[in-house]
């Protein structure tokens, strides 16, 4: 580790970091989406069951089993040396909802990926972000064998607020995913501006 070591007195750049969540039902393309724009790294979190899973996990008699492992995808996009965007794919299973709170805290916004063949799979994510007032966009992942629906039809089916963007996308395509992420950032900006106005008036 001698090579490449930063010279003394020249501190390394501490980047500003932001995160966007990628949510949606199982198999809707969350991993594909994160992988289209960044190098995916698997991330393990060990949650202590006595705190996190108490309502679900009865550990009486097996007290030694105190943690459970949850894996999620995450990717890093280096926008500038001093500006880094992280993408986190949220765990799909319902029993890991407790992890969402940690992921959602401080998130700039979220993408909810939807598959028109099973739109109901993304209801839970839509509810979650609505309730937490986290700006989100719907990315309708256009699977080849699925019928195409206009964004307004999807909006009505999901009963979305009129300002929530609905974007058709292909989670495999880098350019397409980039546009979805740009839509999230734009929406987060508009959302914040609106909230500032609501506070001042």
């Amino acid at each position: 580790m001698i090579l490449g070591r930063t010279e003394r007195g020249k501190p390394p750049v501490e980047p500003v970091t932001l995160k966007i969540l990628v949510a949606g039902g199982f198999g809707v393309g969350k991993t594909t989406c994160v992988g289209a724009v960044s190098e995916i790294k698997p991330l393990r979190t060990e949650e202590v069951l006595t705190e996190a899973g108490r309502p679900f996990d009865d550990t009486s008699g097996v007290e030694s089993k105190s943690t459970t492992t949850v894996a999620m995808d995450f990717g890093r996009i280096t926008l500038r040396e001093d500006l880094v965007l992280y993408l986190f794919g949220t765990p799909g299973q319902d029993r890991f909802w407790f992890l969402w709170d940690e992921l959602a805290t401080g998130a700039l916004g979220a993408v909810v990926l939807a598959d028109t063949r099973r739109l109901e799979d993304c209801f839970a994510a839509v509810d979650y972000f609505e309730r937490r007032s986290i700006p989100f966009v719907i990315g309708v992942n256009c699977f080849e064998d699925a019928a195409r629906y206009p964004p307004e039809t999807v909006r009505r089916a999901l009963d979305l607020d009129p300002d929530v963007p609905v974007v058709l996308c292909d989670a495999r395509q880098r350019e397409s995913v980039k546009e979805v992420l740009v839509a999230v950032v734009r929406h987060a900006m508009a959302y914040a501006a609106e909230h500032r106005q609501a506070v001042t008036t």
Binding site: F74, L79, V182, V185
Partner: protein, 113 residues
């Protein structure tokens, strides 16, 4: 195969961590020269110090890089903060970012990818 919390001596939390955010950035203090000389440190502590010396990185990245659960990374980083070998930069809450041009920079940066 070592049980993950063995290297934290069974500790699952740390006083300074306050649930360090996944995207909080760990930065090695410039005065830290050779962490391996500190025999109180586990090999994982040393790796964190080395990794964050040239490239400050997030708690999530350290977890992926070291193949350790996030909870373990939090405890280890907390130890290193106590020892004043690293400091942690907490992320700016988005609510405080929106006035700035940073989000425009994010959009431009994404388009340029």
């Amino acid at each position: 195969m070592v049980r993950p919390y063995a290297m934290t001596r069974g500790r699952t939390s740390h006083a300074v961590q306050h649930r360090l955010d996944l995207i909080a950035v760990v930065v090695t203090e410039p005065h830290v020269d050779d962490p391996e000389e500190d025999h109180a440190l586990a090999p994982e502590h040393v790796r964190i110090v080395e990794l964050c010396r040239d490239t400050p990185q997030s708690v999530a990245e350290l977890g992926a890089e070291l193949d350790l659960p996030v909870g373990v990374v939090r405890v280890l980083v907390g130890d290193l903060v106590d020892e004043e070998m690293v400091h942690v930069t907490r992320p700016v809450p988005p609510a405080e970012l929106v006035d700035e041009s940073i989000l425009r920079d994010v959009i431009n940066g994404l388009r340029a990818l």
